[in-house]
């Protein structure tokens, strides 16, 4: 418990986070990419073709993780928002700023891969099914946060985006239920934590690897992004000045 | 914006904040009012305060009486219509209580905005440019209000370009950083 408290305290200093994270971040990104490549290779080449969809389902190894990550990223933004508003931790502000574009990119990727999946499977480039629709709405939510952040002055932008992110987080389950309820076309979730997966292990294991690797990749990229934000925000402090000088020389 | 500012306002004090445009008079008042928390340090109040900002706080589509009635309700002051009318008379708006504020002159609007200082429900007054758009009589009115407030034990901090000409006012000059 004491260890956690110290960690919490340390997180209050963006500078500390920057110095620590530099070591982890690149490693995470590389590990993530390797995992994704591995999972993809496994899924694309080795796993057997689906009896209904043939080979096109393989895009699922990109589509499903992207969709899952885009949602997790928003939840993280909401959590960071709560931390910012309650404990006024500056780092949380930077997490929100860094996470928003990453989450939006995951949404875009999920939509793109969804289109690529849809074309051979259902014959159209766009399909209004539960997952694509929720991801689309999620993308709009991300746009809102990004646009709000750009429009407001730096002093207040962080807290305003935090409020918006929290309202979004509350709304996301509502959105998902209503969209689910609105449509029945999409496949049921590929795996749930408690229920048995409806796919044979040769199919869902590479998916699991893929999802976990995506998480690692996301964590790495996020930390790098937060580091960037820290440098931007603290550009007028001494330690950043020293850092830039030492890197330049 | 400010460096090492230490301000103590006691009963009976009238502080005049002066300084060139952009020196932060409005910002300081907003910090004192608690509208801005963008500073290191603390503001401690010994009771309620009344803030009349730069823009007055009047809705132009309503009449002075309606505006005053709303102010009274949200500030937690009991006041009957006749009391409110009397307050508007006292600031020189006799006969204009029921005219929509957008039809009043700028000076009259300022008087209507200041009328709520007569609620006497706050020990500290924070006034941002109270003399804006006021003629001689209007300035005298503000001076009178502040004097009476001070005599009753109140205090005021006013940001102003021209001197309020209140006896024994404490000047506080904000300068622009070099």
């Amino acid at each position: 418990m004491g260890r956690l408290k110290t960690l919490w305290h340390r997180l209050g200093s963006p500078r500390w986070f920057f110095e620590i994270s530099a070591r982890w971040a690149s490693g995470l990104v590389v590990a993530g990419l390797v995992g994704i490549a591995g999972g993809l290779g496994w899924g694309l080449a080795i796993a057997p073709p689906d009896y209904l969809q043939g080979n096109s389902f393989r895009i699922m190894y990109l589509h499903v993780p992207a969709a899952i990550l885009s949602e997790s990223c928003y939840m993280l933004m909401g959590a960071a928002g709560a931390v910012l508003l309650i404990w006024r931790m500056k780092l949380a502000d930077m997490v929100i700023a860094a996470a928003a574009p990453i989450g939006a990119a995951f949404c875009a990727m999920a939509l793109l891969t969804g289109a690529i999946w849809g074309r051979p499977t259902w014959g159209t480039w766009w399909v209004w099914d539960a997952r694509t629709t929720s991801v689309l709405v999620l993308l709009f939510l991300y746009f809102g946060v990004i646009a709000l952040r750009q429009a407001l002055p730096e002093r207040t932008a962080g807290r305003a985006c935090a409020i918006l992110a929290i309202v979004g987080v509350v709304d996301i389950p509502i959105i998902k239920y209503s969209v689910d309820w609105w449509l029945t076309l999409h496949q049921p979730s590929t795996f749930k934590l408690t229920a048995a997966p409806s796919m044979p292990p040769e199919m869902y294991l590479p998916l699991l690897v893929s999802v976990l690797s995506f998480y690692a990749f996301f964590a790495g990229v996020l930390i790098l992004g937060v580091g960037n934000e820290i440098l931007l925000r603290e550009q007028r402090t001494q330690w950043v000045d020293d850092l830039v000088r030492s890197r330049a020389s | 914006m400010f460096d090492n500012l230490d301000l103590d306002v006691c009963s009976g004090d009238v502080v005049e904040l002066t300084g060139p445009n952009g020196s932060g008079k409005t910002t300081l008042l907003r910090c004192l009012a608690g509208l801005t928390a963008d500073f290191d340090g603390a503001v401690r109040h010994a009771g309620a305060f009344s803030y009349v900002g730069h823009r007055g706080g009047l809705n132009l589509q309503l009449t002075p009486l309606q505006n005053l009635r709303w102010s009274a309700a949200i500030e937690g002051t009991d006041a009957t219509t006749s009391t409110l009318s009397a307050m508007l008379d006292a600031v020189g708006l006799a006969g204009y209580e029921l005219t929509p504020c957008q039809q009043l002159s700028a000076g009259q609007q300022r008087r209507a905005a200041l009328a709520r200082l007569q609620f006497r429900n706050a020990r500290l007054w924070l006034l941002d440019e109270p003399l804006t758009a006021l003629d001689e009589a209007g300035c005298a009115l503000v001076r009178d209000l502040i004097e009476r407030h001070r005599a009753a034990g109140g205090a005021a901090v006013c940001a102003t370009h021209q001197s309020l000409r209140v006896a024994a006012a404490r000047p506080c000059v904000l300068g622009r950083a070099a």
Partner: protein
């Protein structure tokens, strides 16, 4: 005139009533704020027969969605002015300084906004439904769904309006922020009307809407008040 020296007895109930009365008064003084969203609604609905063709079958098919989507857009139009006018003339500062807790004042403003925008819209909707040949049996559900749904639109919209209050031209950004949040309301509202057309029971959707309204009532005024304080800095 001299009351007890420097005494204040602020009461949330009184502040709520005073704020509500004031906002209703202002709304009725400026007819435009009241009439414009309604006119937009009717005109917007009329665009569809003009664009899609006057055939009753096609129009009746799209009617639930169009009637609801346009209600959303009309509400969005009227949201910008919710806090901005008060921000510009200094009254918002007064409310923020004196009404404590601030969400009481926000709730009063949202209530006034709904009474002036959402409620008339719901009551006007049968006329619009006529233009799109909505089957008579579904009109009751339409009005009911709008009566439950439009307050949610006002509440969520208030958060967006509060977040953008300090921006000079925040109207479009407001729309961008609020529209995704509106999606479930649209789905449920239009879904209820569609169910009614098909002869099914719309009470599931209507109950969901009511539950969402209850949820939003408890937390959006608070979020909006926080956003206003941030905007006033």
């Amino acid at each position: 005139m001299s009351a007890v020296a420097f005494d204040r007895q602020p009461s949330s109930g009184r502040a709520f009533v005073a704020q509500l009365q004031r906002d209703l008064l202002i709304a009725f003084r400026s007819r435009a704020d009241f009439v414009n969203p309604l006119m937009f609604y009717v005109m917007g609905i009329a665009l569809f027969p003009l664009g899609v063709g006057p055939g009753p079958d096609r129009l009746a098919l799209i009617a639930p969605g169009v009637l609801w989507a346009l209600a959303l857009l009309s509400t969005l139009l009227s949201l910008d002015a919710l806090f901005r006018r008060d921000f510009d003339d200094g009254t918002l500062e007064q409310m923020a300084l004196n009404v404590d807790p601030l969400f009481v004042g926000v709730l009063a403003k949202v209530g006034a906004h709904w009474l002036v925008t959402g409620l008339p819209l719901a009551l006007l909707s049968p006329v619009a439904a006529l233009m799109l040949f909505l089957p008579g049996g579904a009109v009751g559900t339409l009005v009911l769904s709008l009566l439950i749904g439009t307050p949610i639109l006002s509440l969520l919209g208030a958060v967006g309006a509060a977040l953008t209050v300090s921006l000079k031209r925040g109207g479009l950004l407001l729309t961008l922020i609020v529209l995704p949040l509106y999606v479930p309301i649209l789905i449920l509202g239009a879904g209820a009307v569609t169910a009614a057309i098909d002869g099914l029971d719309p009470s599931a959707q209507l109950t969901w809407l009511a539950a969402i309204l209850a949820l939003m009532l408890t937390f959006t005024p608070f979020a909006a008040a926080l956003a206003l304080k941030v905007g006033l800095e």
